[in-house]
């Protein structure tokens, strides 16, 4: 290709070179472009990483650590005296310790197993097969994340209930029916509904970055396809599955409304009691329970981070395997077997995801014994005639989108900068990692309680009452809950990038931030987009801190509207829920589109 290039140059292009770069040393002195950056602007640009990190720390402190500390203090200080009594009460109570905490952990474990079992095949199909709509499907895997629990409950009752879709089908097939509702399996399936997509999403990303040449190497050394899978692919998926499983456990450990809706009070989790104690203003008991819950979740997160720390730098994703076609060109026995497995899995997905969601949609257009649009007309009417003190659909949509967009704008820089810091090596990094990932591990109700007991009503500082409420506070709280997802999505990809790309950019005159924006982010766009989608989803779905921080104001969001429209008829709430689903789906598609364009020609 360039066989003659060098020689030709030497012989023929000498004067070209002279023309190209005048040897005048003055011309070679580097000048900053005039007017592009003012002195102040350039200072900000130079210190942007540090500034964002500092801002992150400040936001974390105000809307996370301070509230959580408030809760912990509440657990050990009663009436101004330090006491271990609330904690001792909880830890010596057979009821809390054995019945509630143990059961909570047990159901979380089962839910984690179910989520992984349900999520991994999805990751396999999304990562290894090519079919129309694959990208869209991947974007939408995140949808269950934003579903208000009441919607999921409605869909699940309609699907798995005594007279639900599942039993109707079973009866039609002449099979015995199943009684799933108000049992532990119902909770576990609902938790899998929420979290299997999470497992699938993170695992897909890892799977796509497995280097094909590593597999080929293993094959050439004599490994069978199965053996190569175990020896090469599995080790690279393990960290992703671990983060998915850890998050699932932490989330389901703190699960609450869905447990009571589909399991019933005999299957109550610890969060049920925290919520109940908050309601009855028994704060020290609530705080003691919350402290125990938080310690368990944080401990697990820390264990994960230590594991991840040991795994880091394992994978190099330069050359992903090519995807297979879902519809094979030739039907060998093996191909038939694989497709049978996929079809079987598809049936399970249909039952767990598609039918419940379809049931919600159906409920929103059913009424008075037939199909109707009256529930949507209710939304229209409420929008047009609703008084200002009532919850109207469009402001709810607008607030959700504003908070979601605000969360994106705050959480993505926070998450990306922390990902950059995370990929560096410095002393105490593990501790910083754990501190910055803590928001993943602390339940929304605990943070909400802390906010309620602290900044929402104001804290006296130097004689002035400082209050933190309203839209900015909501966005800050959402961002704190969301940015760890950005960090976790971006950090592994960033860690795999060649450091020399950044060094090249910097030697060419780019500041660290410019190099990040110009070079690194486009190359890890897939991770940034995934993180952004998660951040948006977290913001849309967040309930506890929104309610607490929007207290008294009218900053209600879509999930709040769903809750408000609940009544004897399920129609209005489900119609609002479907509006939520539609708006959110559209947002995800927009986020992925925009992110895809930002990614440019990277080929991700």
């Amino acid at each position: 290709m360039d066989r003659s290039a060098g020689v030709r140059f030497v012989d023929a292009r000498g004067d070209t070179a002279v023309r190209a770069v005048p040897p005048d040393p003055v011309a070679r002195i580097r000048r900053r472009l005039p007017g592009t950056v003012s002195a102040a602007g350039s200072w900000v640009e130079r210190h942007a990483l540090g500034l964002v990190a500092a801002a992150t720390a400040a936001i974390l402190l105000v809307v996370f650590y301070f509230p959580v500390a408030t809760v912990f203090v509440e657990a050990v200080v009663v009436d101004g005296r330090v006491t271990a009594a609330p904690l001792v009460d909880v830890l010596t109570s057979e009821f809390y310790l054995v019945d509630i905490l143990w059961f909570t952990a047990y159901q979380a474990l089962l839910s984690t197993v179910a989520s992984v079992v349900l999520g991994l095949p999805a990751a396999w199909i999304l990562a290894r097969f090519e079919f129309p709509g694959r990208e869209a499907l991947r974007s939408l895997t995140i949808l269950p994340f934003v579903m208000p629990s009441i919607m999921v409950a409605i869909g699940f009752v309609a699907t798995f209930g005594r007279n639900g879709t599942l039993n109707t089908v079973l009866r039609a097939l002449g099979l015995p029916t199943v009684e799933l509702l108000f049992t532990l399996p119902a909770i576990v399936i609902a938790h899998a509904f929420y979290n299997a997509p999470l497992v699938a999403r993170v695992t897909t990303a890892a799977w796509e970055s497995v280097d094909a040449s590593a597999i080929e190497t293993a094959r050439s050394l004599g490994a069978s396809p199965t053996r190569a899978f175990y020896d090469v692919v599995v080790p690279q998926l393990r960290p992703a599955v671990a983060i998915g499983a850890t998050l699932t456990f932490v989330f389901t450990f703190a699960s609450f409304p869905i447990v009571l809706a589909l399991g019933g009070f005999q299957l109550a989790t610890v969060e049920v009691f925290i919520y109940s104690r908050i309601q009855s203003l028994a704060y020290s008991e609530a705080a003691a329970l919350a402290a125990v819950e938080t310690v368990i979740s944080l401990g697990l997160t820390y264990l994960y981070l230590r594991y991840e720390g040991r795994q880091r730098g394992d994978s190099q994703g330069a050359n992903p395997e090519s995807r297979r076609r879902l519809w094979p060109s030739s039907w060998t026995l093996r191909e038939v077997g694989i497709r049978t497995v996929i079809v079987g899995y598809g049936v399970v997905i249909l039952a767990v995801f598609v039918v419940p969601v379809a049931s919600m949609v159906l409920t929103s257009v059913t009424g008075g014994g037939g199909l109707t649009l009256e529930h949507y007309l209710f939304l229209v009417e409420r929008q047009q005639t609703g008084a200002s003190y009532q919850v109207r659909p469009l402001p709810a949509v607008r607030n959700s989108l504003l908070f979601g967009a605000g969360t994106l704008l705050v959480a993505v820089p926070m998450g990306v900068v922390l990902a950059v810091l995370t990929t560096r090596r410095f002393r105490g990094r593990a501790a910083i990692d754990a501190l910055t990932m803590a928001p993943l591990a602390v339940s929304g109700i605990v943070v909400g309680l802390g906010l309620l007991r602290g900044l929402v009503f104001g804290v006296e500082v130097l004689g002035t009452r400082i209050r933190v409420t309203g839209a900015v506070a909501v966005v800050a709280a959402h961002a704190v809950g969301a940015y760890p997802f950005v960090t976790r999505s971006v950090a592994p990809l960033l860690g795999n990038l060649d450091a020399r790309l950044v060094e090249s950019a910097r030697s060419l005159g780019a500041t660290r931030v410019r190099a990040l924006v110009d070079i690194e982010l486009p190359l890890v766009a897939a991770g940034v987009v995934a993180g952004a989608a998660f951040a948006f989803a977290i913001s849309i779905g967040e309930f506890d801190s929104t309610i607490v921080l929007a207290e008294g104001s009218s900053s209600y969001t879509m999930p709040v509207a769903v809750e408000r429209y609940l009544g004897r008829r399920l129609g209005p709430a489900t119609a609002m829920g479907c509006l939520l689903l539609a708006v959110t789906s559209l947002s995800f598609v927009v986020i992925e589109r925009f992110g895809g364009r930002y990614g440019g020609r990277g080929g991700f």
Binding site: A153, L181, A261, V272, F273, R392, T469
Partner: protein
């Protein structure tokens, strides 16, 4: 009012800058980003949402009525709007609703911290709220209300506040709602007694609610305590649980499951048929059963905040709420029973709103001393199974 207090806070601590500004201005047009709303001249709508600002409050007196969300904002009907419009048309005043999500706890918390409360009246105080207020606050939150015209017409058996702070304005009864169309021949019938619920033919048929977080759940639990006594109710519940009764998190959870025919009985209100009739549902699926011919009474009332700056207007509001025509309208819109004996109600009202032969309820003192413990003992027994 609150707008003012937040402006104070905003001046002090910058973080709070945009408090409470985003939601309200749905119609205030372009972008209405939260930053600009703060300084913008409040639109009429803004004023209504959140509170009056100094400029508008000076001309018309304002009454801030705190209540819970469904009272003004239920997807079916709620009396809030009618009350506001009617009250404003008669009194030269602006009625502003304030509906904090944590309801009465919001005001308890504020009072606990010595923060100004902007509301003048709370509409929707139940006995449980009163107990919580008295437990949490040394001073008090509400002031005594005496001599309001019409107060003498309030049914004596639903007056639950011994200190005379709360004036009831509505009442209701908790009962079983069952679905006649279920069962082998479409002839399902709920048992007539509490014992009947333990029969094997009713196994797995009852849906109830968590008494710690749901009003109907709490009242049904109290009804069983009324029936079996503080020493016997746990045994009854153990049998109930053995017979497959399910306790879900909220009324919505259980009523939704009931409508999906997950179970033929649900604990709900005895006015259930009013809604069913309104939306042309099959009344066979909304049958009422008063166990042991009793209904546990649920009264709610209004109370005046101690710090109200418009006590006269607040009293006028109480008087207004007790008028016969207003009582009648509230009962119809709120789907409850009037609190007074003098309410103007159409005859058709009784067709669907059923009153039990006997209403029962614990009084304030007993509940104050026992409610929390009864609930906890129930929790401990039920959840550990």
């Amino acid at each position: 009012m609150r707008r003012r207090s937040f402006l104070r806070a905003a001046g002090a601590g910058g973080v709070a800058g945009l408090a409470g500004c985003t939601g309200g201005g749905g119609g205030s047009g372009s972008g209405s980003d939260s930053g600009s709303t703060e300084t913008a001249t409040p639109t009429a709508e803004d004023t209504a949402v959140a509170t009056a600002t100094g400029t508008t409050a000076s001309s018309t007196p304002e009454l801030v009525v705190a209540t819970y969300g469904t009272f003004v904002d239920a997807p079916s009907t709620s009396p809030g709007r009618w009350i506001k419009e009617t009250f404003e048309s008669e009194f030269d005043a602006t009625l502003t609703f304030e509906t904090p999500d944590s309801e009465i706890n919001y005001y308890i918390e504020r009072a606990n911290r010595g923060i100004d409360i902007d509301a003048d009246v709370y509409a929707g105080v139940r006995v449980r709220d009163l107990i919580r207020i008295d437990e949490q606050l040394d001073g008090g939150l509400f002031t005594t209300v005496e001599g309001v015209p019409g107060q003498e017409n309030v049914k004596s058996d639903i007056q639950f506040d011994p200190s005379g702070r709360v004036v009831p304005f509505a009442t209701g009864y908790v009962s079983l709602v069952y679905d006649r169309t279920q069962g082998a021949y479409g002839d399902y019938s709920a048992p007539e007694t509490f014992e009947g619920l333990l029969e094997s033919e009713y196994e797995g048929d009852l849906l109830a609610q968590n008494p710690a977080s749901s009003t109907t759940g709490r009242l049904f639990l109290l009804h069983t305590i009324q029936e079996f006594g503080p020493d016997g109710y746990l045994d009854y519940w153990a049998d109930l649980q053995d017979n497959g009764a399910r306790v879900l998190g909220s009324w919505s959870d259980s009523y939704g499951a009931y409508q999906e025919e997950q179970a033929p009985m649900v604990v709900s209100y005895s006015t259930d048929q009013v809604y069913a009739a309104r939306s042309d549902e099959n009344l066979d699926q909304h049958q009422i059963r008063f166990l042991n011919d009793q209904g546990y009474a649920d009264a709610e009332g209004m109370a005046m905040f101690e710090g109200t700056d418009t006590p006269d207007l607040a009293r006028s509001f109480a008087e207004f709420m007790l008028r016969p025509e207003v009582q009648g309208e509230i009962a119809q819109q709120w789907v409850s029973f009037p609190a007074t004996t003098t309410a103007d109600l159409p005859d058709s009202f009784a067709t669907y709103a059923q009153e039990p032969p006997e209403g029962v309820a614990f009084n304030y003192e007993i509940l104050r001393d026992n409610l929390s413990e009864w609930t906890r003992e129930w929790e401990r027994q039920f959840a550990s199974k």
